[in-house]
């Protein structure tokens, strides 16, 4: 019986990690679903859906040596998952400004109350050590319409923080 697992790997970044891991999984009879890899603060991180005909323990045994050989921490969860279940975003929000504690909490809190379902979020700290800037990009779905979110954004976007909301009008052809 095949099951989906969520495999998370974190560690110091170097080239070839994805190739090594995916080869080991393929050789072990696994099938990959959706995956997202990001380099965060110089760290390699990946979460991948892995379909495997066996127990969590067996999968752990298979992946652990490979992860260890590349200095990666491994975390495995058995998950209830299905493919072909994408939710389409209908809006994009970008926020940037001088890096200050609490930006994310304040903005996402207000947006959640106004009906935002975040589907993808990526944030980055750029600029320089002396003058860091914070950049956040969100794609999501507006359960209560864009106007409610725009109003919420207008309230929370304080001086020095630029917040911009735009509709994603997907062209289906």
């Amino acid at each position: 019986m095949k099951h989906w697992y969520m495999l998370t790997l974190v560690g110091k970044d170097r080239s070839g990690i994805v190739a090594h891991i995916s080869a080991a999984l393929f050789d072990g009879g696994c099938n990959l679903g959706e995956a997202s890899m990001m380099r965060l603060g110089g760290n390699f991180s990946i979460m991948m859906m892995v379909e495997f005909d066996g127990t969590s323990h067996a999968l752990q045994q298979m992946v652990a040596p490979v992860a260890e050989s590349m200095g990666l921490h491994l975390h495995l969860d058995r998950i209830a998952a299905q493919l072909h279940q994408h939710l389409e975003p209908d809006l994009r929000i970008t926020v940037y400004g001088a890096d200050k504690a609490g930006i994310v909490a304040r903005i996402t809190g207000a947006l959640a109350e106004a009906g935002l379902h975040i589907l993808e979020m990526e944030t980055s700290v750029a600029g320089s050590v002396e003058q860091p800037i914070y950049i956040m990009q969100i794609e999501g779905h507006a359960a209560e319409g864009l106007a409610a979110l725009q109003s919420a954004l207008d309230v929370v976007a304080q001086k020095g923080v630029e917040a911009h909301l735009e509709a994603i009008d997907t062209m289906i052809g």
């Binding site: 994408h86 389409e88 994009r92 970008t94 062209m171 289906i172 052809g173």
Partner: protein, 168 residues
């Protein structure tokens, strides 16, 4: 009238070059009616190209008069042997395709185009289109050359934001 079956990738036929139309007859009119019905049956579809229903001729329809948010449009456009002659500006936007279910992606298209095409009776017309409608036309013309929006994907992450910043 009939709703035609939509080919979906990885059907290799979607990657083939479509042939120009040479005969403007009743059979063509009949096909166009079926093609339109098929386009309107697809959820949210604003365009369709003949190769998507397994007819490998340079025929496409676009109708951006029915979008959720109104956009500049020419109503129903019947495009036979369409040729884009001018491209201007660049813009990133989200596209999906009836032939690629369950996926959407960002694609760069010209903001404004000039296009010549024949109608169902073989009369040539010229159109100037912009924005969403221009995007739909470019997407459909790609189908006639065996191209899918998957061939033109750009990063979901950065392009839009950068453009927005520079515009301010």
């Amino acid at each position: 009238m009939a709703i035609l079956e939509i080919l979906t990738y990885p059907d290799e036929r979607l990657k083939q070059l479509a042939e120009p139309v040479t005969v403007f007859d009743q059979a063509l009119h009949s096909f166009l009616r079926d093609l339109e019905e098929t386009m309107r049956a697809g959820p949210g579809g604003v365009g369709i190209a003949a190769p998507q229903v397994g007819r490998f001729q340079r025929i496409a329809l676009v109708d951006c008069s029915v979008t959720r948010k109104p956009v500049p449009n020419h109503g129903l456009l019947v495009l036979i042997n369409p040729e884009i002659s001018e491209w201007e500006g660049m813009t990133v936007g989200r596209e999906g395709c009836m032939s690629v279910p369950d996926y959407t992606g960002n694609v760069i298209r010209a903001e404004r185009i000039r296009l010549q095409a024949f109608d169902a009776d073989g009369v040539q017309h010229e159109y100037q289109c912009e924005g969403f409608e221009a995007r739909a036309l470019q997407h459909e013309c790609d189908h006639l050359d065996g191209m899918l929006f998957l061939d033109r994907l750009v990063s979901r992450r950065n392009d839009l934001f950068r453009r927005k910043v520079y515009q301010k």
